[in-house]
Amino acid sequence: MSGFRTLLYKEVLRFWKVAIQTVAAPVVTALLYLLIFSHVLENRVEINNVRYTAFLVPGLIMMSVLQNAFANSSSSLIGAKMNGSLIFVLLPPISYGEFFLAYVGAAMLRGMMVGLGVLLVTAWFAPLQFVAPWWILAFALIGGGIMGSLGMIAGIWAEKFDQLSAFQNFLILPLTMLSGVFYSIHSLPPFWQRVSHLNPFFYLIDGLRYGFFGVSDVSPLISLAVSGLAFLVVGAWTLALLRKGYKLRY
């Protein structure tokens, strides 16, 4: 596993060297969402007896974890593909399993760091509870893992930055934003509630909220099962691509 350790270290160093862009910036973005939405909605909306600003925080945390985990592995892979430096990780004796663990691990770490950052800066704005902290950790990690894997798939598949950006803007962004970050899906018409139940990110956000408030739209066990299954499927898919050498080894 020696190659794995270094590859993980390299992937972490890569985003840490530009932490202003990769960690600080998304925290500020989440803070802006919080300021704007809480200003508009704080006194008008209350969900499951939770004040709107407090309700919003876990959603923003999970959204930040998801988007940054995806951004990390996808941008690292496409960047290395575009500038040709991917060859440096293809030549050494690194197995596809190590490859997967290193990229997904670094993506999860960045997701967790941004998520923690969002938690810290928003703590001033809303009194938070931590009813079930292990659930918080579990959902954040699984979310980071799913998105780190999806980011790998997108980074391997995309041949140009605009293809990656299409993946990100037309798929990842709508799925994360429409998964209950800003609202409870119970406020939606029945049809859209059912559609939301098909979105795996909904379970991640709902599960994370359960960890904070002890209340959620669906049972956290169901959320855990769906999220875990999603991670297994996406992870297995990524491993299969890596094993085949799809668009990496010809």
Binding site: K17, F88, P93, G245
Partner: protein, 311 residues
């Protein structure tokens, strides 16, 4: 001599292009081996197969007895590849790049060897410089350094001197020669045939994915040995037809292609005898470039015959 690299009937097709068409080669341990061929001949594809970057459709490749597919971990440890493209990771300094590359091969605390490589490649002063800030030649040296961090017994250099200035080229060859002297097997592809002639003990020429010539450099040169004699003389109209028939005229020069040095003296005597004083004369031995052109042309003809093409 034991075998460092064994390539058996390797074939690879990309769409409609047969990039490699049953290539067989064996490269001995400690050899300095040249892989030559025109653009698109399959040199880089063959090297990529060797390095595990391309998976052949059929055939086997072994490095020091380890199969590059089944035993890829061991095979890749034996191999240091300097890629053709000038690639680099813009996030890191030279030293970070080399430490990371060492780590990929499971080597931590590799700084003594890294320092030695940096010293030998004249990179020591740039060790803490970010890759982005290096000149093209410097980046090329880092690529060589990266290929050597794990002390591979087999070193593959894919066009390492393309776009490199004379000084670096000389320094690089000195270093690679020393590595070869220390027992490393070196495989080189290059477009500079004088480089291959000066460095390689044995040469394979590739064309359209096939090996069309494979021999020691000396044998290749001898096999196609021609001495080219060019001279300028006066009163050429007096030359007998027996001589003019053997010559070609170009820019005021009479050019003769002679199979052997012994033919020179009788020819000069005949010219003098005809009453044509020689004013200027030069002679060239065959170089690899002549051999290369000859082999490629010969191959064209045989390929044309195969295809039933009458020209």
């Amino acid at each position: 001599m034991s075998v460092a690299v064994s390539i058996q009937r390797v074939a690879k097709r990309f769409g409609s292009v047969q990039a490699l068409d049953g290539v067989c080669l064996e490269i001995g341990e400690g050899e300095f081996f040249g892989l030559l061929g025109p653009n698109g001949a399959g040199k880089t594809t063959l090297i990529s197969c060797l390095a595990g970057l391309v998976r052949p459709d059929s055939g086997q490749i072994g490095v020091k007895g380890f199969d590059v597919q089944d035993d890829y971990r061991q095979a890749r440890r034996q191999l240091g590849v300097v890629p053709q493209e000038l690639v680099f990771d813009p996030f890191f300094t030279v030293r970070e790049t080399l430490r990371i590359q060492s780590g990929y091969f499971g080597l931590r605390r590799n700084d003594d060897w890294i320092d030695e490589i940096l010293e030998n490649l004249d990179l020591a002063a740039k060790a803490e410089t970010n890759m982005r800030r290096l000149s093209g030649g410097m980046k090329r040296r880092v690529l060589v350094a990266q290929a050597l961090v794990h002390r591979p017994p087999v070193i593959v250099l894919d066009e390492p001197t393309a776009g490199v200035d004379v000084e670096l080229r000389q320094g690089l060859w000195q270093f690679v020669r020393r590595l070869n002297g220390d027992g490393h097997t070196v495989i080189l592809t290059t477009h500079y045939l004088e480089e291959a002639e000066a460095l390689c003990e044995r040469i394979a020429m590739l064309k359209q994915g096939r090996v069309v010539a494979l021999d020691s450099t000396r044998n290749l040169l001898e096999r196609f040995s021609v001495h080219k004699l060019s001279l300028r003389a006066e009163a050429l109209e007096r030359l007998p037809e027996a001589i003019t028939r053997r010559a070609s005229f170009c820019e005021g020069y009479l050019n003769f292609h002679l199979g052997h040095v012994d033919e020179v003296e009788p020819l000069l005597a005949a010219i003098r005898q005809a009453g044509c004083p020689i004013r200027e004369m030069r002679m060239n031995a065959t170089d690899l470039e002549d051999v290369f052109i000859e082999v490629m042309r010969g191959q064209d003809e045989s390929l044309a015959e195969e295809a039933g093409d009458v020209r």
